[in-house]
Symmetry: C2
Subunit: 371 residues, 2 copies
Amino acid sequence: MTATLRRPQSEQPVKPTLIDGDIHTTFASEKELLKYLPKAWHRHHEMLGRWSFTGTNYPKESPNAARVDSWPPGGGSPGSSLPFLREQLLDEWGIDIAVNNPLFHSAVQRHPGYTAALARAINEWQIGEWTDPEPRVRASICVPQEEGDLAAAEIDRLGEDPNYVQVLLVIRGSEPLGRRRYWPIYEAAVRHNLPVSIHFGGQGGNPLTGTGWPSYYIEDHTGMAQSFQSQLTSLVFEGVFERFPTLRMCLIEGGFGWLPSLLWRMDAAYKRLHEEVPHLKRLPSQYVRDQVWLTTQPMEEPAKPEQFGQLLRHGNLADRLIFATDYPHWDFDAPGQALPKTRLPDGFEESLFYQNALDLYGPRLLPVKKV
Amino acid sequence: MTATLRRPQSEQPVKPTLIDGDIHTTFASEKELLKYLPKAWHRHHEMLGRWSFTGTNYPKESPNAARVDSWPPGGGSPGSSLPFLREQLLDEWGIDIAVNNPLFHSAVQRHPGYTAALARAINEWQIGEWTDPEPRVRASICVPQEEGDLAAAEIDRLGEDPNYVQVLLVIRGSEPLGRRRYWPIYEAAVRHNLPVSIHFGGQGGNPLTGTGWPSYYIEDHTGMAQSFQSQLTSLVFEGVFERFPTLRMCLIEGGFGWLPSLLWRMDAAYKRLHEEVPHLKRLPSQYVRDQVWLTTQPMEEPAKPEQFGQLLRHGNLADRLIFATDYPHWDFDAPGQALPKTRLPDGFEESLFYQNALDLYGPRLLPVKKV
């Protein structure tokens, strides 16, 4: 700590014989910065602002990527008020069960002890502030994703508590999720019959694309679907599904239109290159068919409505898609608006709005008694 | 240079008072190594072998990724003998025009002068050894891809020679291909009315996936389709197609089943985030529709044949797909076996086997007189 220092008063001007080669100034306020930034860039500055070679970001005008109407009237951030969530989501849309996916990027902190403590805090907080007072909200077990052993310990600690319905990972970590360092997570999830769900986002030190950093947020937003493809490829070919045949996984907020062609491509590659991966016993598409679910938000929007039904058949998706609103995020899908206006397979709405989720989560999703 | 040195003979054993902390030995031969490598890994060693955190590789047993029957009887590597190429490809399958894409990774060398010289050598060699003696073979302008100005100079040097039908890039470079450093390439191509084609492969220092290095070659082979998606996303959102409205591009050997859902996703993102990219004037899918072609090898193999026709409609692909054999590579598609056994759109075979290529390449593809 340094006290304020002042140069003694003097009549003589100081000659330039003392040079400080390093000082730092900063804008007094955002307003001062905007005074100097050309007006054409003000909107961009407000919407996205400074964003460098890191992981995922959200538009600045939507902290937590929130809908503009989702700020609780009593103050606090979107998604921070249970009464307002009841009013704006659960009651408004008649939602019986909502799976909570807290995204504090606890998964991708560098300090192993801190990230484990942060995950534990988030898990306790979910029960204390959300699931206990509102049984319609179910909790996810957040884990220190990059530390397989610490993650498994947290899953073992909470895995038999019926308030938690899944283990939560993020799609972008340090390495492909099929690699051995992550196997303790899957092993622990299977031990407690918990699905492992992987959500949009995260950061692990690598650029989003295999060819370097894109320039625009819209590329990041579009390109996240490629991370889902990479991760599913890794999980299949590393043999995670073969090794853990009772493991169920859900891919959240990554879209699903890319799934059919990825399955075709994996199957074709497997037919020619299976010698490299003798630990696989089935076609890649068969593992995915039996063990992978996906959420709808964002709902794919084919150019023509009738192509939606074809897409469902290409990916055998009708019994694997789970409806999601993504509340309170800015790209919220309302239940009434989510479906394309086209003829859908018989029973599809029932599957989408509850049966597929029950298949994935099992009895944990049914109303639970307070412990 | 050091002469051979020998320790003088002595009856006394040498005491361990001299320690060399760093010497190096190596296996005398592959055979010696195999003597010590468990038999279970011999096949892997022969097929793929050592492969670290670099770019794309090919199975070792297929140097140049070649078909086992493509080694010329007179010696040399697959694809190195014009008489054998005539016999095995052009005459065997009745191919009238074959576009040559030499893949020496000249695009991704680090030395700017060397990579420019290498590209120039490859370009001269194509004419001297292939296109001059065999007009059915057309040449590509290889360029030092990472150096926009040097690449443009090479395109300007050769762009009016009708033997060259396109500029050739690889899909994995140092940065997303929409970025400004690459614009001189597109500008030069447009100046000479040459399409820019981007081929599977390359390496730029980043792992293939946005989440790190995969373990298996089969992941690399499957995952390259994600690089094609990333690059098309970059080209669209950086405004390359808007800036160069007469630019035509072709994506070679990256598949095409991923295209429909990528277009749906880009259009949906653009509707919500267009403010960030005000340099775009049209929907992403409209640029792709007008300016992008794709080759068939590998032909997508939907689970059910009738899904192939649906896929064509989802991506408006019927007039954009160009047939390719990928000769002499191991995953060669023969013209007679390329198409799924299903009802195809009227005129599709004509489109696939020549009309779409003529649309992309223009009159350069028609028989040329010797200069």
